[in-house]
Structures are given as structure tokens and as C-alpha cells.
Amino acid sequence: MAPATGQNASPMSDRDIDIDLVERYVGGDLEAFDKLVSRHQSRVFGICLRMLKDRHDAFDATQDTFVTLFRKADRYRAEAAFTTWLYRVTTNVCYDHLRRQQRNRSDSMPDHLDPADPQAEDFYASADLRPSIEEALVALQPEFRAAVILVDLEGLALETAAETLGVPVGTVKSRVFRGRKLLAQQLGNLRQGSTHQNSDTPGPDS
């Protein structure tokens, strides 16, 4: 798809721009890949940070996501929005990292050697991921967390989130509903009825 040019050409939508960039990259244009990264790195990183809590893990997951992108871009089919495919890759990479975190939980050694980034530390302290909020999000089961992040923080429609997560819309709706409920309980900013404390502890799709 050629970029829109000329006075009468309608501007390309974000979706069309993404598809154009993917096609160009698959055709060998490395600059197109750079542009894809620039366009999406913030949101991918945001999803990863909120999913994984740890900034270094989030960075690694972001990198893994884009490595997957450049290795498998030719598998993308333009029927779905590129972002749907990208966020699906992102959440899958995050699930992999969470499984790895689970396995390495007993290992007290840090798994990264990157130096401290003062800017990142300041941001971390002052941003929305204040400890209580961060803990509340991270305390959610990954399936609930992913649904809440995609729908409430990334603004995806339920249908898009369902496609991204590979589950039915009803399942996403249920996960978002219960995820929000657990968040509200965890944050303690609403009254908590003791009769409801344990009503959402079963698995995400029970």
C-alpha cells in the first residue's frame, strides 16, 4: 500500500500505516521496522511494566516482543489490526516472563546486569505505579491483570481485547469485571463487605 500523497488522497489511518510498514518491512525495508518500533514501543512497554511490575523485566519483555515481531512479521495477516496482533505477542511474552519469574522466585540473584537508570527510578517513584497501586495490580491473577490493563489502561474495546487474548468476549468481560472488583478491594478505597472478600478467588474462567 502506497502512502497517501497529493491533495485529494485521504490520510492513512493508523491501522493502514501499520499495515503499510509491516508490508515494507517484510519486503526488506529495515527503516519500516524502526518506525514500527517507534510507533508502538511506549504502549508495549506500558503493558509489559504493568504486567511484570519489574522495570528490567518489562524492558526485556519489550525487546522480546519486537524481536518476535521482526522474526514473525510475515505471519501477520491484515484481517486484524496490527496492534491486536502485536498486543497478543506482548501478552504472550509477558506470560512467558511471569512463568520464568515463578520458576526463579527462589533465586535471590538479580537476573539482569543493566545499571540503574536514575531517570527510570525517579519515574518509577513518582508515576502511577506507586507501591500500593502496583501491588494491587500485580496481586491480580495474570489473566485478570491482562484484561484490566488492555481494557481499562490501554483502552481496547472488549472485542479487541478478546481477540488479543484469544478468548471469547464474555470471558474478557468477566475477567475485567472481577479484576476491577479485586482491585477495588485491594486498594481499600471502597468499603469491603466481608461477605464478598472471597467471592472472586477461583480461577479466571470459573
Binding site: 511506549s42 506500558g46 519515574f123 477495588a184
Partner: protein, 308 residues
């Protein structure tokens, strides 16, 4: 709770229904204590989430991501781009002098510049140079192949700490610039270099001789020296292909090699591609420059500096 109730509560909390439908939904929920509490929680959680600020990568993280992806991309694409050496005899005819000179000057600038305040009064540039060069110390565990993690530790290790955000931005800008775009080298300096075709991972180092000449001519000109150093190290980093960086093989090829550094993935003057590794001995003196076949990592040529 019935799904019907859940849908109504979510619709009310999200404001996706209004008018009569909303009134009816509220009326239905009013009679259910659990539903009222759930609605309160949905609204409360949404309100809190709406206040969340977008998460951004820092400039350093962005630059690091781009560098790492550059390396990964170069690795992915290198097998097709690499043309193995056809005859080791050609190496006997190579002009090794310029390569040794480039390596020696690079090392000298990295080691001496911070002390002479050559790089703008801080050792940040030197840190960047050290960061970018993939090195292999003799006292460190040897690794036959460099994995993704070790790439991170090499290019983002402790020596990265001194790199400023501006330097990282510069590197990122260079990564984003088209190969033939020399704007990265523009400004008050006249340093020029051709990055070659970044897509095939090989760089023509013939232009480095020119940079070297200008670096020497700069003789204390901080801006020129700093830019030239950054260009050299950036090109060298971008050219290095870690998974086939041949450091382990090179260690075996040179006796008494204490430390090794990948100079780059070099296209030599006769058009042959090679991974060139600089060896240092005691006192960080260059002891050898070894060329390796990019496909097999076999040492296919070497040169040692002439004695004093």
C-alpha cells in the same frame, strides 16, 4: 451473580447505557445489595485506573532498546549478507597497517582522553566507547557463543552508567538515520564517514582511515575528537555481530592475549568481509589484530604491530 446483572453493572459503570435503559438498569440493581456494592467497586476501580499516567520508556531505555534490536536484526540478517573468504592467500596481500592504526588510535583515545579532558570534561564518551565495544577479558569466563543475555550485559553493563541521555539520543538518532545520511557527522566538524550498507551488516572501513587522519589532525580539538570517537565506536558496534563475534576463537589464536575487543565486521580493501578482533597485552597495548572468517570464525589473517 447472573451474567445479565454483570453486564448491566458494567454498562452502568462504563456509561455505555443512558436514558430509559440506564434507569431500568439502576432500578433492577437497586433491589440487590450485592449488585449495588459491585457497581460501587466497578466505578471506584475505573476511576482509579483512569488516573493512571501513561508509562513511558526513559531516553536511555529507548536508546538501549534500539541498540539491542539493531544487534538482533544484524544477527538475523547476517548469514545471507556474509560472503565467506574464498582464499586465505588474499589475506597475505592485505594492507594491515591502517587497521592497526585505527585500533591503536581508538584505544589511545579511550584510555587517554578522559585524563586529558579531550572528550568534553567528562569520561562519558569514553564510557560510551567502552560500552559499545564488545570485549572479552582473559580472566572472564569464556563463552563459545554469545547469547542474547550476554549481549545485554556487554552493551548495557556497568560501564554504561556514565552514558548521558544526550549521548544515547545521539546514538539512537544515528541508528535511525539512513546509512548515506551524513547528518550525524555534521555540525562544526568536518569528520565524514560512510556507514556502508547497514542492512547487510558489513561496513567499509576504508573511510575510517580518513576519520583517523582527521582525528589526529584535530590534535586537541574536543568536538572533532569526540565526534570522531563516537562515530568510530558506533560504527564498530553496529557492525559487530555478537553471535558470531569470534572472541572465543580469537583467544585461542593469539598467545598471551589478555583482553580482546571486536573492532568490527569489516569489509577490507579487497572487498573481503571479516570480523576483526584487536588483542591487548599487559598495559592495554595492542599485541595483535586478527581477522576471522565471519562464517566459521577461523582465523584467516593476523598482524602484529611493528616494534619500536
Amino acid at each position: 451473580m447472573h451474567r445479565h446483572d454483570q453486564d448491566l453493572i458494567m454498562a452502568l459503570a462504563e456509561g455505555t447505557i443512558s436514558g430509559t435503559a440506564a434507569d431500568e438498569a439502576r432500578h433492577e440493581i437497586e433491589s440487590c445489595q450485592q449488585c449495588r456494592l459491585d457497581l460501587e467497586m466497578q466505578v471506584g476501580a475505573r476511576s482509579w485506573l483512569a488516573e493512571a499516567r501513561p508509562v513511558e520508556m526513559t531516553e536511555i531505555e529507548t536508546a538501549r532498546l534500539r541498540r539491542n534490536l539493531d544487534v538482533e536484526l544484524a544477527h538475523e540478517r547476517s548469514p545471507a549478507a556474509v560472503t565467506p573468504s574464498k582464499s586465505s592467500q588474499r589475506w597475505a596481500k592485505l594492507q594491515w597497517g591502517p587497521i592497526v592504526s585505527v585500533a591503536a588510535v581508538l584505544i589511545a583515545v579511550v584510555l587517554v582522553a578522559p585524563q586529558l579532558d579531550l572528550l568534553g570534561g567528562s569520561d562519558d564518551s569514553a564510557d560510551v566507547a567502552a560500552t559499545i565495544a564488545l570485549t572479552d577479558r582473559a580472566d572472564a569466563p569464556e563463552s563459545a557463543s554469545v547469547t542474547e543475555d550476554s549481549v545485554r550485559s556487554s552493551d548495557g553493563g556497568a560501564r554504561d552508567q556514565g552514558a548521558t541521555a544526550q549521548e544515547m539520543e545521539d546514538l539512537t538518532a544515528a541508528a535511525e538515520a539512513p546509512a548515506e545520511d551524513d547528518s550525524f557527522f555534521a555540525g562544526t566538524t568536518t569528520v565524514a564517514a560512510t556507514a556502508g550498507d547497514a542492512a547487510d551488516g558489513a561496513l567499509a572501513f576504508t573511510s575510517l582511515t580518513e576519520i583517523l587522519g582527521q582525528l589526529q589532525a584535530a590534535d586537541g580539538n574536543t568536538e572533532v575528537a569526540s565526534d570522531a570517537l563516537q562515530n568510530l565506536t558506533y560504527l564498530s558496534f553496529r557492525a559487530a555481530v555478537p553471535p558470531i563475534n569470534c572472541l572465543a576463537e580469537s583467544a585461542e589464536a593469539v598467545e598471551e592475549s589478555l583482553e580482546r575487543s571486536v573492532l568490527g565486521f569489516v569489509e577490507l580493501e579487497d572487498g573481503t568481509d571479516a570480523i576483526v578482533i584487536v588483542h591487548y597485552g599487559s598495559g592495554e597495548v595492542v599485541t595483535a589484530v586478527v581477522a576471522h572468517d565471519p562464517a566459521t570464525c577461523a582465523a584467516i589473517g593476523s598482524v602484529t604491530p611493528e616494534g619500536p
